[in-house]
Amino acid sequence: MKRAPETRPELDCQDARLVARLAREYAPRPLGPAEREAFDARLRARLERRRLQLLVPALATAAGAALVFLVGRGFAPEPQPAERLAEARPAAAPTPAAEWEALLYAEDVPLAESETLDARALPADYVAISSLILER
């Protein structure tokens, strides 16, 4: 299949002159050899900067992840068995109230003689109430 010829707009003589004039007058000064070298050097520097710019986010992400990992390890409590936690906890000094409380709730502690006698001296309803509380 024959390829269609490349299309170029046809201009009349006047337009062709105008276009030629514009093309000639409206153009930059061509670069000299030294300017071409400088152009290429600036282009290489730009490409190098771009490489670094692409590297920086990757490095920053890696560094950030490492920092988060290290900080997380440094501040988080070390996992310990419950027994070791209990051992590590200092024993609280027994207070008089606590001793009484322990006595009251201990199952095998019988009522004292005096308490029994006192209970007998109390009215019947008081004894009933106390037996509810004290006797188990």
């Binding site: 276009v19 007058e25 152009f39 290429d40």
Partner: protein, 186 residues
């Protein structure tokens, strides 16, 4: 141009890629810079920045270049988009400068030729729409065919021809005197 052909191959990689890219830059540096210069309104520094940024983007994208379009068409498409991006950014900057600092200085005071004529042509090109200016610069000033221009701009050939017609009509109205003697427009 061997490097350019090597770049077109899909197996180029690593050091070979860099060497081929250098050849590509050497082959297209001047043409790319001239196109950028014309698209950004005759600003030397902006033209270099646009050209280098387009080359840098092309270098990064070379690994994924599939060869569906020609390499130069692909690269100049990047360049034209980069020039658009620059122009948008400059429009914002000029609005800001206009609010606070008055008129911006001539962007290319050291360029060759007649500065007044260059500014006049630049102003006339600025009155065109972006697609009209792109089409006019690519076809009439840079010598691309309508088909190549359509590929670069991602438009239909008929659309490009329509833009060219309107652009030429507008420029004929503004700069028609330049079609006469050399000294008419100065």
């Amino acid at each position: 141009m061997e490097g350019v052909a090597a770049l077109q191959a899909t197996t180029v990689a690593g050091a070979d890629l860099e060497a081929s890219f250098e050849d590509f830059v050497a082959s297209h540096r001047e043409r790319a810079r001239r196109l950028a210069w014309r698209l950004v309104g005759g600003d030397d520094a902006a033209a270099e920045d646009v050209t280098q940024e387009a080359l840098a983007k092309a270098f990064r994208g070379l690994q994924s270049f599939r060869g569906e379009a020609s390499l130069s068409t692909w690269f100049y498409r990047i360049l034209v988009r980069q020039a658009h991006s620059y122009r948008r950014w400059r429009a914002v900057r000029e609005t800001w400068h206009g609010l606070w600092e008055g008129d911006a200085p001539d962007p290319a005071p050291q360029a060759h030729g007649d500065p007044a004529l260059r500014r006049r042509i630049a102003r006339a090109l600025e009155t065109l729409t972006t697609p009209q200016r792109d089409a006019f610069v690519l076809v009439h000033l840079e010598g691309w065919t309508v088909r190549e221009t359509a590929e670069i701009l991602g438009k239909a050939e008929g659309t490009v021809k329509s833009h060219l017609h309107r652009a030429l009509r507008s420029l004929r109205r503004q700069l028609g005197d330049l079609a006469g003697d050399e000294g008419d427009g100065r």
